[in-house]
Symmetry: C2
Subunit: 201 residues, 2 copies
């Protein structure tokens, strides 16, 4: 945006908003105008929410989740089973599983996947910590809920080996047809996996 249109404050606001995922310069300008128009109902509360988040948000030192308390609300919830640890790549994946309300156990956020080309090795992920947690007496199963990508699966393979050395049972998510999915749109790998793991009815 030309410098003469507005003061540097608005230009800075637009620049920062455009750094959010999924927003380009055009949508950032629209978002900034929307915020300015809805000053009292949106801009003021959002500024306050960001300030609160800056002050309060911490990474859970147990599982790596992001929350306003450490240990996080999941780790400190004593209604959750302690015999299962569900391993995810990112906090976003953890939130997705929590929305589905399918995991009644503990979580462990790796912080990414192994990627030798990008210089990301086992020490850059929270793997040693996972093995340590998994070696606790309570833990019966470690569910590797990693993405079904090459990186996710090779990371799962590496972790499975580490866990085997420590004598812990690992499991992975099932492959198959997504619920609501149409066969016509699925790749051969998914179809082959769905057939291989078919269930008798």
């Amino acid at each position: 945006m030309s410098r003469s249109v507005t003061g540097p404050e608005i230009a800075e606001l637009i620049k920062l908003i455009s750094k959010l995922p999924g927003l380009g310069p055009r949508s950032a300008r629209r978002a900034a105008l929307h915020l300015i128009r809805k000053k009292d109902s949106l801009m003021v509360p959002l500024a306050r929410a960001l300030n609160e988040a800056v002050e309060k948000i911490v990474e859970c030192s147990t599982c790596g989740n992001i929350d306003t308390s450490n240990p996080c609300s999941l780790c400190s919830d004593n209604r959750r089973a302690t015999n299962l640890i569900c391993v995810v790549e990112t906090v976003g994946d953890l939130w997705a599983l929590e929305r589905a309300e399918v995991i009644k156990g503990q979580y462990h956020v790796l912080g990414g996947t192994l990627s030798p080309l990008d210089g990301i090795g086992p020490d850059d992920l929270s793997i040693a910590k996972l093995v340590e947690r998994a070696s606790g007496d309570d833990v019966k199963e470690v569910l590797l809920a990693l993405n079904a990508t090459v990186e996710g699966q090779s990371t799962a393979h590496y972790i499975t080996e580490q866990l085997a050395n420590a004598g812990v049972q690992a499991s992975r998510l099932a492959h198959g047809v997504p619920v609501g999915g149409e066969l016509d749109y699925l790749d051969e790998g998914t179809l082959a996996a769905a057939i291989k793991s078919r269930k008798m009815i």
Copy 2:
């Protein structure tokens, strides 16, 4: 998002981000996680930029532009011609024209279009103010740069009549083929307008 995943602070942040145009709940969660991951480089600066914007942004009492000074940087720029007032619906339209660097005169933001069904009449827009400004000695032309929609054009028609009563000359943007546009994708109205206003070469 289930309340148990994170504290209310993060849920509130996501809720507010999802109110921005073009962001749904899913992209708001992604944006919130991105902010949290980039706390120092993005969340802190954005919180500061929003606080500054809340404090400093004002509407220009002359033209209706949004800026950190009143009169705005455009109205107080004495290199700009005073004999032309370019009328736009919204501040976003003003910014778009400024980016194109095509208007060397003054602006006037109406704040919308006439819309009797939504109860928006002439008194809800900055029309009387425009006629007053346009009646000044300097002003030779009022360019109605309103959207080429039914609402925009009927608003332009109303304003033209008001300006005629005050003895001021109004103009409008040309209709035609957008630069870079393909004829095949244009509607009949645009093609008819482009042919009617064709230029000899």
